[in-house]
Amino acid sequence: MSKDIRIKKGLDIKLVGEAEKTIENAIISNTYTIRPEDFHSIIPKLVAKEGEQVKAGETLFYNKENEAVKFVSPVSGTITEIQRGPKRRIDGIKITADKTQSYVEHGKLDANANAETIKAHLLASGCWAFIKQRPYDVVANVEHTPKAIFISGYASAPLAADLDFTLKGKEAELQAAVTVLSKLTDGGVHVSVGVTANSPLADLNDITTYKVSGPHPSGNVGTLINKVNPVNKGETVWTVNAQDLIIIGELLLTGRFNAERIVALVGSSVKKPRYFKTIIGSEVSTMIYDNGVEQDGNDRIISGNVLSGKELNPDGNLDYYSNIISIIPEGDDYEFFGWNKPIFNKISTSRALTFSWMSPKKKYDLNTNTNGEHRAFVTTGTYEEVFPLDIYPMQILKACMYKDLDEMEALGMYEVAPEDFALTEFVCVSKQPHQKIIREGLDLMLKEIG
């Protein structure tokens, strides 16, 4: 059964540096780093100690508030460093990998297992970390039962990894994962696929598929939730990234936590953008420098897409949820009369001497310049053009800024995640940090309401 979801509001940002559809094995990284900050709102309680040996799938730390929620090592090896920040905050756990990998055997899951057994299995193996929840866009709360589970099988973000390509051949794992997930909710597993796409997800059992079309954010899971079954007060939905279904599926089929992932290396600073097979936590330097990124180039390395990814240092690591590394030029230069001259080489939704409307198919080479300074909110109506959710974007942003919990709740805060505000942030004339505002708003609600 499949239904159609067509959105009109949005914006496709076409950039130079799309990945060519070939997969290479990345150079095997010597060290792997897991950063607790990837799991927003989790306070880590360390199990691992410096110098100890761990197997792939062995617990590194757990959630201080719920010991059952474990976070595991992607590889087997020796823990060589616990990186700490201010107030002894744990910044990263660095593992030097063994030459030959050994895995913790978590055992296969009985096909007729009930929800409690499934939960326990996912928790023990570290796969729980892949299940996130809304409200708040954090790792799912074990005690809740979601009203439905949502998966986006269509990536519409700029330069996103093509899920049809990266999921190909993994039908067995995907099926195993969605079957198990469907037992955790009464509301079913809802999956979006591209309308023209040939997705491996489309033919799976135990799910409801939706054919989505239209500009970005048509592929965001937040858009799918909003159009299918928006979150009301007191309700929870779960979301899982499509590529993480493979890891969950493999665990269910083999009993091993295999953190292998296909990652797209993209962006205008990459000479040969393509796909790599690598492992969560790998050093990004293992992929980028052999493929035409200049060692001393002035580039921005992003784990994730250019709209909501994380800025990395050159010695940084692939984060827990990303299946894309984007590299674009830094824009730390002045531009003479940049605010009033006609602009042909940047994207704009206006036509105020900006000419991207004339060539909708052109691919742009954008850098990290803000193209202007931070200002108070002034213009109106621009966000609505790129925001397909049934929510007033400016009003909810302002409610977050003045921290009015009642208003945030009334305007739909339970339904949103920061990434839903990536496009409004992109087009914002006042250069306001929308995603940060929403993240802080969600954190406040999580703290005050829970």
Binding site: G331, A352, L366, T368, G372, F426
Partner: protein, 409 residues
Amino acid sequence: MGLKSNLHNLKEKYKGTKMAPAFNAIHTFLYLPNEITHNGTHIKAADDLKRTMNTVIMALIPCLIFGMYNAGYQHHIALGEITTKANGFLGASFWTIDNLVVGLWKVLPLVIVSYGVGLAIEFLFAVIKKHEVEEGYLVTGMLVPLIVPIDTPLWMLAVAVVFGVVIGKEVFGGTGMNILNPALTIRAFLFFAYPTWMSGDKVWVHGAVERANQIAAGENVDAISGETILGSLAQNNGVLGYDWMDMFFGIIPGSIGETSTFLILIGALFLIFAKIGSWRIMLSSVIGALVMGLIFNGVVSSGWITESSKFYGLMSTEFWHHLLIGGFAFGTVFMATDPVTASQTNKGKWIYGFLVGFISIMIRVFNPAYPEGVMLAILLMNVFAPTIDHYVVQGNVKKRMKRLKAKTA
């Protein structure tokens, strides 16, 4: 490049000092800053607030230039120095150097005073409050000279600008926070503080006031009439011999930039095309004005008021002429659409715009002291815009509550 790196070094030098906002304002005027994104979106669209404001100014420039020629033309024709009336937009006696010289002489000082005083206050507040100089005044500063009578004394304008920027904007927190349109606040201040300079039949043509004073002093010269069409209509004196083409092209007395509906229309189309001005507000405001105009026409044709009524002149004006005379077109396109003070929701914009148009014509007809309503209508609706938005947003909130109820029921 020398200039670029020198300015960069200066910027670093001023960083953290009190002068930083003032320096940055000038620096960013020359160069788009070297600021980069950090978290959130790593790329940003090309537009910033400066570009947005600049687009509005570009749309205003034709009105400004036309206003200068028209100031000269009205002056010369009143003195009898031009004997052949300019017929149509390209009239030979209109686009003359003589006309432009008078216009430049009278209008440029207004522009300079408006920008000089206004920007000085903006810089002062930016330095005191340690924030960057915001661009809002770039448009306000251009609007102000276009909506005042030609002979407005410069000191009066300066006082009004100080009042408008400080009370109308800065006390609320600056650009983006104000409730009332700053340019209209400035004009309203002038209107209530110096009414004799803002209305009547003397102020709309350069030289008329001076002549009146000379006559009062006993000199033997002819008086100049500087009456506007609205002023005449309000006294049931007809349209002073202007036809609708004169009104449309704007070869009539009035505030400096408001007369040419033709050029305002071009500006409106430009702003709508550039996606800077709200077509919803402009269109709904025109609809509102036409509806009110039709109602008044209906009242006249059904015989409820007679020619002896003091409202007869304006009420019997053909409904669509209301769009061409007075400041309606200018107000609708450039002032009602100010995004900060207008309604901010798309649905709200329809309601807000309609009421601006509707009330403009209502006040225009019924205001005994001053036969124009667009300024007061916009200011009034500025005050009500947040209320309109509130109810529009509540619609969305109620939908959410209903969904929740349906679930739990």
